[in-house]
């Protein structure tokens, strides 16, 4: 375009058309990426379901060198660690969210929130490292166990990794409870404590459920920290003391073994197979969490 010329309307329309087409493509790309991810997991993982009989695949022993690909101990390992982590993080997270939102004075809130944000920013490998060097010895000594690398150690670290998500979503949920609810509770002569537990928290229940689901999704998918502190023994966690014994999760299995397998081998396909299970599992959890959030967020109007 020269100095003084004005763009003709056709030029403008052409720019508009190109830009809009480009942005449309970028917008749709996310769908493409999800499909691509799923496709490549299937492509590399489905063969295992053909190569290994289901009895073996869902058996109780994972010894790839002996062609035993029982994923059950890994699935249960992930489940044990995740459930324990949530059992720790849920009460702690909700209590903290309630404290920050309902009890703490403003100045305390100003300090607490950034500290919790710092936790969200710490890379998982750093937490894993600290779990190994600080927490594991502590657990070994208190339990008198041969090793501090146990399911519980992993759960503890996962709980702290899930806390920032749980706290911030729960806080938003508490925030969304109308002030009139609180006022009504107080006006009826209830103490602030009674109002919080009988009115505010129940009203924020769906948000808290969302928080738990998101925290769970994060915990199941967490890899590095878990791999570094759970001891990585693929055994069935069936006895009561399993929590304080080494365990192995699905994520840790992939991360630890993928580097050593021959591409195209059954073991390689099996690791992708675990990837498919993880993908579907987190997909379902996040779908459930999102369906709660989507309902609140219908839009229309001027644009």
């Amino acid at each position: 375009m020269t100095e003084n010329s004005t763009p003709t309307s056709s030029q403008l329309r052409w720019t508009e058309f190109t830009v809009e087409a480009l942005i449309r493509v970028l917008g749709f790309s996310t769908i493409g990426f999800v499909l691509l991810i799923f496709f490549f997991l299937l492509r590399e993982g489905v063969p295992v379901f053909l190569e290994v009989p289901p009895g073996n695949l869902f058996g109780t022993r994972w010894y790839p060198t002996f062609d035993l690909f029982g994923t059950l101990p890994l699935i249960l390992g992930s489940a044990l660690v995740t459930v324990t982590a949530i059992a720790i993080a849920l009460p702690l997270g909700v209590a903290t969210a309630v404290f920050i939102r309902e009890v703490a004075p403003n100045w305390a809130r100003e300090i607490l929130k950034p500290v919790i944000e710092v936790l969200a920013g710490i890379p998982s490998v750093v937490l894993g490292f600290l779990g190994m060097t600080l927490i594991a010895p502590l657990i070994r000594e208190t339990l008198g166990a041969p090793t501090g690398l146990t399911a519980f150690t992993g759960a503890l670290i996962l709980a702290y990794m899930a806390l920032p998500t749980i706290i911030s979503v729960a806080e938003d949920a508490l925030d969304a409870v109308p002030k009139s609810y609180r006022d009504a509770g107080l006006a009826m002569g209830a103490t602030q404590w009674q109002t919080i537990w009988r009115v505010v928290v129940p009203a924020a229940r769906s948000g808290i459920v969302t928080a738990v689901m998101l925290g769970m999704g994060r915990a199941i998918g967490e890899t590095m920290a878990v791999m570094m502190v759970t001891g990585n023994a693929a055994r069935m966690p069936l006895t009561l003391d399993s929590l304080f014994r080494p365990i192995r999760t699905m994520t840790a299995t992939i991360a630890a073994e993928m580097g050593e397998v021959a591409q195209g081998s059954t073991h390689y396909h099996a690791l992708f197979g675990i990837g498919i299970i993880l993908f579907l599992l987190t997909f379902l959890i996040n779908l459930a969490a999102a369906s709660v959030m989507f309902k609140k967020r219908r839009r229309g109007g001027l644009r």
Binding site: M1, N4, S5, T6, P7, S9, L12, G300
Partner: protein, 256 residues
């Protein structure tokens, strides 16, 4: 429906309009004359603002609407397929109920439209700034601080800036949607005065924020009630001797 001139600038022909199936205008037909102030008035929800926004197709931005009928500008249907909508909006300017300066300086606000239209020549842009601010009766107040943020101006100054911003494009038609609703009486007076100046050059359509204002500025006035055009006549007649009972009730303050 009476017609008061031989050459309508804008002709609205059997226009009906609905938002999400809720009707906002029923079969409205009227002609807007050039170089005069035409007023759309009536109680809230009557369809005045909707009709105003139809004249420069701002309602295109709203989802889920249905329209029938035609809107002609100089005899051309502005809803015909292939219409250059940005070009139309340069010919038909709009001033909103609240002063909405764009982020940036006073000068940036004024030259926003011309720049988008491709004007790059600094001298010409400078001329545009002086001319449009002068026409909007704001030049004397801001000439020394053209590069300060527009948001620092008072409400009345901001609204005149918005008028200047529209005038910068040298539109043929200026639409104003309750332009003085947020202003004090003195600022309102200034805006109205500038309108009287502007109508020599422009076709002005205004939704006034009060019936008094309607009566002060109207050359022609159209009374809207619940989506219907009830009466459309020269301002001097409609406010002193309304023909329709409903217009009379509204003008004399029995409802609204």
């Amino acid at each position: 429906m009476s017609h008061n001139q031989n050459h309508p600038k804008i002709r609205i022909e059997n226009v009906s309009y609905a938002y999400d199936g809720k009707p906002a205008l029923h079969d409205v037909t009227l002609d807007v004359p050039a170089n005069a102030i035409t007023v759309f008035f009536g109680p809230a929800g009557g369809g005045k603002t909707t009709l105003l926004r139809l004249i420069n197709r701002l309602n295109d931005l709203v989802e889920g609407t249905q329209m029938s009928g035609r809107v002609l500008l100089d005899g051309q249907d502005i809803y015909a397929p292939g219409t250059d909508v940005p070009g139309l909006r340069r010919r038909v300017g709009m001033v909103f109920a609240l002063p909405l300066p764009l982020p940036g300086t006073i000068r940036e606000n004024v030259v926003y439209g011309p720049k988008l239209a491709g004007e790059r020549d600094q001298t010409r842009l400078e001329e545009i700034v002086v001319r449009s601010l002068t026409q909007a009766a704001l030049w004397d107040e801001v000439k020394d601080r053209l590069d300060s943020p527009a948001s620092a101006l008072s409400g009345g100054q901001q609204q005149r800036l918005c008028i200047a911003r529209s005038l910068a494009l040298s539109p043929e038609v200026l639409l104003l949607d309750e332009p003085t609703s947020g202003l004090d009486p003195i600022s309102t007076g200034k805006v109205e005065e500038s309108l009287f100046e502007l109508k020599q050059q422009y076709t002005i359509v205004i939704v006034p924020h009060s019936i008094q204002q309607a009566a002060r500025v109207a050359d022609y006035a159209a009374f809207f009630l619940m989506g219907d055009l009830i009466e459309y006549r020269p301002g001097t007649e409609i406010f002193t001797a309304p023909r329709d009972q409903r217009t009379e009730d509204y003008v004399t303050g029995r409802f609204g």
